[in-house]
């Protein structure tokens, strides 16, 4: 009798809060799939390039789990194998990931409840997570659905990277040329970024000149030199446009 009563009382108490949670998790998994499935092959390429560069496979797990900034992790392989100074690594990370500063203007962090969830949500605010939460369909998503989505995307990347590294350790250097995945990724990202601002031709042109000049003049310090030249060129053009508008 008591047993029946207990189970009767217990059932709604146990199932009703658990059910929406599983539903949220399923929804987050579904949301993450479209974009997230691309992270697995990219992660595979990342892991293979990492082991081919001579790093132990588990560094792929460390990089993908802790850094979680795909394009920069690829770049970091080359930077660390050249034993680049930490200051240059910090500067390069800042410039490559600078775009994330502006994601804060529209990312729905206010819907995410709790300090720990908020901390994780900012940590995992990648291009993919931002793009998915910027869609019209995402406006009704709860905070836990957003964090769940971010967790799944993170998981795809870690699994892809680790699997690629193990595969890379297995096949060794027999497959040359996989490292082209990185310039290919940057080319594709540059084309997408340029598409958003079709009127801006001088910016990419300045950047190309800055990069070539830096590669010739300061081959050992190419990235900081090129970024400094690019920033300077953009600030000069901003100053010039302000002067023009003041005169007009």
């Amino acid at each position: 009798m008591t047993r029946v009563l207990l189970s009767d009382v217990g059932r709604p108490g146990l199932t009703s809060p658990a059910e929406p949670e599983t539903r949220t998790a399923t929804a987050a998994l579904r949301d993450s799939f479209s974009v997230g499935i691309a992270l697995v092959p990219l992660g595979l390429a990342f892991g293979m390039v990492l082991t081919q560069a001579g790093l132990d496979w588990w560094w792929a797990t460390v990089f993908t789990a802790l850094i979680y900034a795909g394009s920069f992790e690829f770049l970091l392989i080359g930077l660390v194998t050249a034993v680049t100074p930490l200051g240059t690594i910090a500067l390069t990370a800042m410039l490559v990931n600078l775009r994330h500063v502006f994601y804060a203007l529209s990312f729905p962090l206010h819907r995410v409840r709790g300090v720990r969830a908020k901390l994780y949500s900012t940590f995992a605010m990648t291009d993919e997570a931002y793009a998915l939460t910027a869609t019209a369909a995402s406006r009704s998503w709860s905070g836990s659905r957003i964090v769940g989505l971010q967790l799944f995307l993170h998981l795809y990347w870690v699994i892809g990277g680790t699997a690629g590294a193990l595969l890379g350790a297995l096949v060794g250097d027999s497959v040359a040329g996989l490292d082209f995945a990185l310039p290919a990724l940057f080319t594709v990202m540059a084309i997408d970024a340029a598409r958003e601002r079709p009127d801006d031709v001088s910016g990419p042109a300045c950047a190309f000149v800055a990069a070539v000049v830096a590669a010739v003049v300061a081959p050992g310090q190419m990235l900081p030199t090129a970024f400094a030249l690019l920033t300077l060129a953009l600030l000069v053009s901003l100053g010039a446009s302000r002067l023009r508008s003041r005169r007009a």
Binding site: N97, L98, V101, A104, F180, T187, V188, P204
Partner: protein, 105 residues
């Protein structure tokens, strides 16, 4: 080959910079909205930084013995496919595949 303490330091530096860039703006949203210089740089920097990175990745390409042809063909395939199909995964996979095939045959 880099040692583990250096690698860990590089990871720590990267995490600190990347997470700060993602989290700190939420603390200072108002000044961020107001700074026109930052806004201008934010609009025009990303494409430029990516162009610099493409050049950086390909800077070591040897000019002699037709060795430049594999990366050049792969770059053309990547950019061409992406302008045509706009499919990130397809463009990267096809470009890399062309590079691997040209280097291994």
């Amino acid at each position: 080959m880099p040692d583990a303490p250096y690698l860990l330091a590089a990871v720590a530096v990267t995490v600190a910079v990347t997470w700060s860039l993602r989290a700190l703006p939420f603390v200072a949203l108002a000044p961020l909205r107001e700074s026109r210089t930052l806004h201008y740089l934010g609009l025009r920097m990303p494409t430029g930084v990516l162009v610099v990175l493409v050049v950086y990745c390909l800077r070591g390409t040897p000019v002699a013995d037709n060795a430049w042809m594999a990366p050049a063909a792969a770059l053309a395939v990547t950019a061409g496919l992406h302008l045509w199909r706009r499919n990130l995964l397809l463009s990267i996979t096809a470009g890399t595949a062309v590079h691997v095939i040209l280097l291994n045959v």
